[in-house]
């Protein structure tokens, strides 16, 4: 049984452990440069789109390993139209609404073909990938469109204004550490978050115990909670040492939180997993599987629209080539994070780890001056390793489970 526990532990936390190892390796290769506050900050801002797209992609993958190839082109389409609107002095909230609406329409378009006409998702979204890119370039006439609207950038994080202002800067004395001033809002927020997490974990645990449910071992809960809390505080500290909380981070956190909730606590989330696990059984359980597929692609569209907003804000322009290859980053993040290529398993937590791991490797290699082409090779190798590990662990676990079942049936007689 001991071996089984180790296997389960490794399976659950392997990618997390791998991420930590990768962080440490790059820390030494680059002489500590990867962990300076500025780089941690850019890690988030640069990869914001991967988190947002990965979340949407997860929904599609859950329904049965279906992917959406069009998201890069949708970013370009939504971004170009948004940029042009703002260039024409249309108020930025209107432009934002239009961009989200474009994402929604694209999502409905894909959802319709895939769920109701039964066009294979690969083909339907390949069509989108080609057509929307073309459409965007027609609209932009092949030229860059700059984004100069200040309040838009304040809101979605562009250039110097991509941080949450330090509201608490004038409360008490400024905290100086060497030559940097600590961003107090950021630090306070991180500490509150950590305390909140600890309180929530233990209150919830007490509630479960009072209801007579099985709970995890108290020691492992304590260790786990405090490690997470420590990471949050450390992360907050690093950000506070630079310019504070990046605006993009708020958007990522919001998207991840909402979709973590949807996938775990709502009927829609439940249905996504069920459709991916066994579509026929789900349909015969009275669930409209077409609607579930439709919802997945519609939400993906909206999230692609949001990613488009974040991308043009950060780049301060829309260009004909923005978003090229983004779909692959999102797909890779999902699979590295443990989503099954056949659907039915995967989680938002996995997407976070997958996206973070990819981002860390990208950035680490850039700082270590690895040539760009080599970087791609490394990314490919990481993807196959992650999936390979998952497959191997699954086989091991199956072997262990099988043995366990035999044991159960031996003890139980007729079961």
């Amino acid at each position: 049984m001991g071996g089984n526990k180790v296997v389960n532990f490794l399976r659950k936390y392997m990618m997390l452990i791998a991420t930590v190892i990768v962080v440490i390796v790059f820390y030494f290769i680059t002489g500590g440069k990867t962990l300076i506050p500025m780089n941690i900050d850019s890690l988030i801002s640069q990869n914001a789109y991967v988190f947002v797209l990965g979340t949407g992609m997860l929904l599609c993958i859950l329904t049965g390993g279906n992917i959406d190839l069009s998201v890069g082109s949708v970013i370009c389409l939504a971004g170009s139209i948004g940029a042009i609107l703002m260039d024409k002095r249309i108020p930025w909230p209107v432009a934002v609404a239009v961009m989200l609406f474009i994402g929604l329409v694209v999502g409905i378009w894909h959802g319709f073909w895939i769920a109701y006409v039964k066009v294979p998702p690969f083909i339907a979204t390949l069509v989108g990938m080609l057509a929307f890119r073309g459409l965007a370039n027609i609209i932009m006439q092949g030229k860059d469109v700059p984004v100069e609207n200040k309040s838009f950038m304040n809101f979605f994080g562009g250039s110097d204004s991509c941080y949450i202002p330090d509201f608490l800067a004038n409360v008490g004395k400024p905290i100086k550490l060497g030559d940097v001033t600590l961003n107090k809002t950021c630090m306070v927020f991180a500490i509150l978050l950590a305390i909140g997490l600890i309180l929530f974990t233990f209150i919830n645990r007490a509630r479960l115990i009072s209801k007579g449910y099985k709970v995890d071992n108290i020691i492992s809960v304590i260790i786990k909670t405090f490690i997470i809390a420590a990471v949050i505080v450390w992360f907050g500290y690093k950000l506070a040492c630079y310019k504070g909380i990046p605006t993009a981070f708020v958007w990522i956190a919001l998207v991840l939180a909402i979709f973590a909730y949807i996938t775990t606590k709502t009927t829609l989330g439940r249905n996504l997993y069920a459709v991916g696990g066994n579509e026929k059984a789900t349909r015969l359980s009275g669930i409209d599987t077409r609607k579930v597929m439709f919802s997945a692609y519609t939400l993906m569209g909206v999230l692609a629209g949001l990613a488009g907003i974040l991308v043009i804000a950060r780049g301060q322009k829309a260009s004909p080539t923005i978003g090229v290859g983004f779909e692959m980053d999102a797909i890779a993040a999902c699979f590295i994070g443990g989503a099954s290529a056949y659907g039915g398993t995967g989680s938002i937590g996995g997407v976070i780890i997958g996206a973070a791991l990819m981002g860390i490797i990208n950035q680490g290699m850039s700082i270590a001056d690895t040539p760009v082409n080599y970087q791609k090779v490394v990314k490919g190798v990481v993807l196959i390793l992650a999936v390979l590990f998952d497959v191997m662990m699954q086989m091991k676990r199956k072997g262990a489970k099988k043995a366990k079942n035999v044991a159960a049936s031996e003890k139980g007689g007729a079961n």
Partner: protein, 526 residues
């Protein structure tokens, strides 16, 4: 005394922490049909996997002596070279390939660089003739029924020059006629000198075909019965399997009065979704009352599943016509969702394919058909959901460490209980149970029967579709007999015997209401 072809001596196979086989001995003589029986999880399949090299030499203890020499098989190829061929329960044929292509898959005829198709098909036809199959070897697998597919599997094994044939539950998906044909084929092969091991749950078939019966229980061989000297009746075998005598195979019904007609189907006609001129249900009329268990007996392919699924929100078939009444009121159900809302439940015969989401937990499967019952709006109340799942695990005595266990890890009987729990939680008035005890062992069957009785006691209407005669007679209040898309008879369970039910199907007896069976309709295939 005939020569001993195979001897397995003190085989012990250990999985991490568990002994799946404990000192098992098996002796098979040349030219005999040897049956292996035992409850699910008793170790029959493990033993056969050891024999065929799926568990390679070195992963188990003990010796395999085959044809006078000690064998060390490292994979299936090794054992096949010696002439040991295993036919698995789930047919391993590729639907869009021809019979010939399937038969020689991995055993291609011709040179290494060029497949000789003429030789392939000529050889294939030769072996097909041996198993009595008249279809051309160029027919696609998807176009022939499961009965014939099973024969193709056997032909495939013969083409590998099998000397010892292992059949794992060969008749589990066959109807009675096809099963009988298969068993007779086995007898014919035996007379030609073939040695066979058959694993089966269907004890009547075992008694019919086997020369020797070895009973496996909890990973050990309990006894070997010889048909020529021992009593090999079903009761005797069951006694060996469970270590106790099951005197009552069917639990007593609770004495509850039967109420009003709950569901009534009149003149129900359904056409096949692909072959649109073929009727799968032809002018069927049935009804079921509250608190009543109605059995629908019919061979596989008679149209029973098609009838049930077409009633359940038109989830099967096209061109459906007829009248459906629930509680006296005419209703039209266009989707499973509407059917569930109207108080219907269909518990499928194919629990892995159509019933359960194997990659999800017991909890999630239990509430899948009635998520609204545990949620407010779109938000799921996790605590309530856990309570519900635990309640049903307790009520149905599902064996599991927790409700978070993945359904794919449960045994067949327990999976069936989860499936029943799911539909019971949907709180229907009418439950249509399609082969509720297929592929589960004797002990679990009894528990399922108890659940059915409890449902009837609670005033539910139960329609039980089954192709096991004793089950239909033992469990039902009333029985419909279905054959070739039509209802060919209806009788009270108290009047029913295996003989007069079969008589309805072959259409010879006069004292039961027999609707003339149209002889033109092609032999029904699943």
């Amino acid at each position: 005394m005939a020569k001993v072809l195979l001897e397995m001596n003190s085989i012990t196979k250990t999985f991490p922490g568990v002994k799946a086989l404990d000192n098992v001995n098996l002796k098979v003589e040349e030219g005999e049909i040897h049956a292996l029986v035992g409850e699910n999880g008793a170790g029959k399949s493990t033993l056969m996997n050891v024999l065929s090299g799926i568990y390679p030499h070195g992963t188990y203890e003990g010796d395999i002596i085959y044809d006078g020499e000690v064998c060390e098989f490292h994979n299936i190829k090794d054992s096949e070279k010696k002439g040991i061929v295993i036919i698995h329960q789930e047919l391993a044929l590729i639907p869009y390939m021809t019979i010939g292509e399937n038969m020689f898959l991995g055993n291609e005829q011709g040179s290494k660089w060029c497949i000789d198709w003429n030789k392939t098909y000529a050889e294939a036809d030769k072996y097909l003739e041996m198993v009595g199959l008249t279809d051309s070897s160029k027919t696609l697998i998807k176009d022939i029924g499961t009965g014939k597919q099973q024969l193709v599997e056997i032909a495939k094994a013969l083409a590998k020059h099998a000397k010892l044939l292992i059949l794992d539950e060969p008749t589990s998906s066959l109807n009675e006629t096809d099963s009988r044909a298969l068993l007779d084929l086995m007898k014919k092969l035996k007379s030609e000198g073939m040695t066979m091991i058959i694993i089966s749950h269907k004890l009547n078939e075992v008694s019919y075909v086997a020369d020797k019966i070895t009973v496996v229980r909890d990973g050990s061989t309990i006894e070997t019965l010889d048909a020529t000297v021992d009593d090999i009746s079903e009761t005797r075998i069951i006694k060996g399997m469970v270590g106790r005598e099951i005197t009552d195979r069917f639990p007593k019904r609770h004495d509850v009065p039967i109420g009003d007609v709950m569901m009534e189907v009149n003149n129900w006609t359904v056409y096949h979704p692909e072959f649109s001129e073929r009727k799968v249900c032809d002018d069927v009329s049935i009804n079921v009352r509250a608190g009543e268990v109605v059995g629908i007996y019919g061979l596989m392919g008679a149209g029973r599943t098609e009838l049930a699924m077409s009633i359940f929100g038109r989830s099967y078939g096209i061109g459906i016509s007829g009248i459906l009444r629930l509680r006296g009121e005419r209703v039209t159900l266009k989707s499973p969702k509407q059917a569930i809302e109207a108080g219907l439940a269909y518990v499928t015969e194919d629990r892995k394919g159509n019933g359960l989401v194997l990659s999800n937990s017991i909890l999630r499967n239990t509430t899948l058909a009635n998520l609204d019952g545990v949620s407010k709006g779109i938000f799921i109340d996790k605590d309530k959901e856990t309570e519900v799942a635990q309640e049903y695990v307790g009520k149905l005595r599902t064996k599991t460490p927790s409700v978070e266990q993945l359904v794919g890890n449960l045994s067949g009987g327990n999976q069936q209980k989860v499936l029943l729990a799911k539909w019971m939680f949907a709180n229907p008035d009418v439950l249509i149970l399609d082969e509720p005890t297929r592929g589960i062992d004797v002990g679990a069957k009894y528990e399922i029967y108890c659940i059915i009785n409890d449902l009837a006691k609670a005033g539910k209407s139960v329609v039980m579709i089954s192709s096991e005669l004793p089950e239909v007679i033992g469990m039902s209040d009333r029985i419909y007999i279905m054959n070739q898309a039509k209802i060919v008879g209806e009788m009270k369970a108290s009047d029913a015997t295996q003989e007069n039910i079969m008589a309805c199907i072959v259409g010879v007896k006069d004292d039961v209401p027999v609707v003339k069976v149209n002889a033109d309709i092609e032999g029904s295939e699943a």
